[in-house]
Symmetry: C2
Subunit: 233 residues, 2 copies
C-alpha cells in the first residue's frame, strides 16, 4: 500500500509559489527556514533546498546564508530564449531551407565589431555576408565577422555550400555568449537583399561568442519584417 505519499520537490516548489501568489508572502517578506518548511510539509530539507533553488533560478525569491529566504522585493520577469541554428529554425517552422553566400573577404574590423568583441587594438577579421532563405524567400540576413586567431580554418572553408553559422556552431563551441536585441530601419541595400522596402522596421539579433577570453565571432542577424521571437515555454 502507501502509493507514493512521498512529496516531490516540485510539490514543495508549487506550494511555496502558491503561497506567494495568494499573497501570504509579499515582496520583501521572509520565508520560514528550509528546515521548518521541511517539518511542516513532512519532507527532507534537501527536498526543500531543491525547490528553493528552482524558485531562485526563476527570479522569484532571493536566498542568503544566515539571512534566509525572502521574496524578491523588485520582481523581475525572467525569460529564457532558445536560438537554434537558422537552418533548423526554418525547417521547424515547416519551411524549405535555402542558403546563399553574398560576400566573404578579409578586412579590418570596424570599431563596432571590435567593441562587441571587447578587443581594443585594431585587428583583421573575415567578414561574411550571407542570406538564409525559407521557401526561397529571404528570411535572415547575416553579417558576420570571424576572428582569424580563434578560427584559423575560416580562410580555407567553402562557405558557398555550408553557412558559417552552421559550421561554427558544430565546430567551435563557446564558453561565453552575449546577445543584444534591437530594431533598425532597413537601408537601401538591406531592403533589396531582404526583398522589402527601404525604411522597413527590422528586428535584429546580435550575438558575440568567446572561447575563454578570445572572441570567436560576432554576428548581426537581420530578420525580415514580421519576425517575432517568442519565449520557450
Amino acid at each position: 500500500m502507501t502509493p507514493t505519499n512521498r512529496i516531490s520537490w516540485k510539490d514543495v516548489r508549487d506550494e511555496i509559489h502558491e503561497a506567494i501568489l495568494t499573497g501570504r508572502y509579499g515582496p520583501g517578506d521572509r520565508l520560514p527556514r528550509d528546515a521548518d518548511i521541511a517539518v511542516q510539509l513532512n519532507c527532507a530539507r534537501s527536498t526543500v533546498q531543491r525547490a528553493m533553488q528552482d524558485l531562485t533560478d526563476s527570479g522569484l525569491v532571493e536566498r542568503r546564508r544566515k539571512g534566509g529566504t525572502r521574496v524578491r522585493p523588485d520582481p523581475v520577469t525572467r525569460a529564457t530564449f532558445d536560438i537554434p541554428v537558422t537552418r533548423r529554425e526554418i525547417e521547424q517552422k515547416g519551411g524549405r531551407y535555402g542558403y546563399q553566400l553574398i560576400h566573404s573577404a578579409e578586412k579590418d574590423a570596424p570599431r563596432g565589431v571590435l567593441a562587441a568583441c571587447e578587443i581594443s587594438s585594431p585587428c583583421r577579421m573575415q567578414q561574411i555576408e550571407a542570406l538564409h532563405l525559407s521557401d526561397g524567400q529571404p528570411y535572415i540576413l547575416e553579417d558576420r565577422w570571424v576572428s582569424f586567431e580563434t578560427v584559423p580554418e575560416i580562410r580555407d572553408l567553402d562557405l558557398t555550400r555550408q553557412s558559417a553559422n552552421e559550421w561554427l556552431v558544430t565546430n567551435k563551441p563557446y564558453s561565453r555568449c552575449d546577445l543584444r536585441f534591437y530594431a533598425i530601419s532597413a537601408d537601401d541595400r538591406t531592403a533589396e537583399l531582404l526583398n522589402t522596402v527601404p525604411g522597413a522596421a527590422l528586428f535584429v539579433i546580435e550575438r558575440t561568442t568567446w572561447l575563454d577570453a578570445a572572441p570567436i565571432t560576432t554576428v548581426k542577424a537581420i530578420t525580415t519584417p514580421g519576425y517575432h521571437l517568442l519565449t520557450t515555454i
Copy 2:
C-alpha cells in the same frame, strides 16, 4: 591536513564542459554514465548528477533515462533575460524616472489582445496607455489591457500617480508569462508620443501574464529608437 580536496559539482561541470569545448566529445556523442564519471573524478554520483543537470539547463547536453547523456546534436544558444519594472530599469541606468498616464478606459478587447490572452469569446477590458520617461524624455510607451475578471481592483485605481506596471507587479503575481520581441515602424501618433519621427524602427517587448488559466494583463512596451536589450551575464 587534507585541505578540502573534495571536488565540487561546479568542478565536475567545468571538467565536462571543457571536454566538450576541446572536442573530446562532439555533437551527438554519448558521454560516460554518471557512475563512471564519478569513479573517474573520485566523487559521488550525486555530484555528477548536479553538474549534469546544470549542463542540461544551459542547453549543452541532453539526458535520457537508460539512453544516457549526450552532447546536443543541434546546439542552441540559450539566453536568459531579466526584464525589471520600468521605473527600476530607468533608475538603474542613472536616469530620473517620470511617468505620465495618457488614457485609461473600458473597451471591447480587440482580436489581437484576445489572441495574446488565449481567450476566444469577446470580452471587455481596461485599456491603459502610459508613458515612462527618463530624465523627462520619453523612454517606453506602454499599451496595456487588463482583465476585469482577474483584476477587479483596476476600476478604482488611481493610475495618474502610480503606473499599472508597478501596481500589477507588486500586487498580482503571475504563474505564467509569455514574451514576444519584434520591431515596428512608428505610426504618426506613436512617433509624436515618443518624440521621434514617423517610420522610425522601434523595438517592442510584448508580455502577457496569467494566473493559472486566467489572463491578468497583456502589454505592448514600445521602446524609443536606440533601445537595446542585453542578456544578463
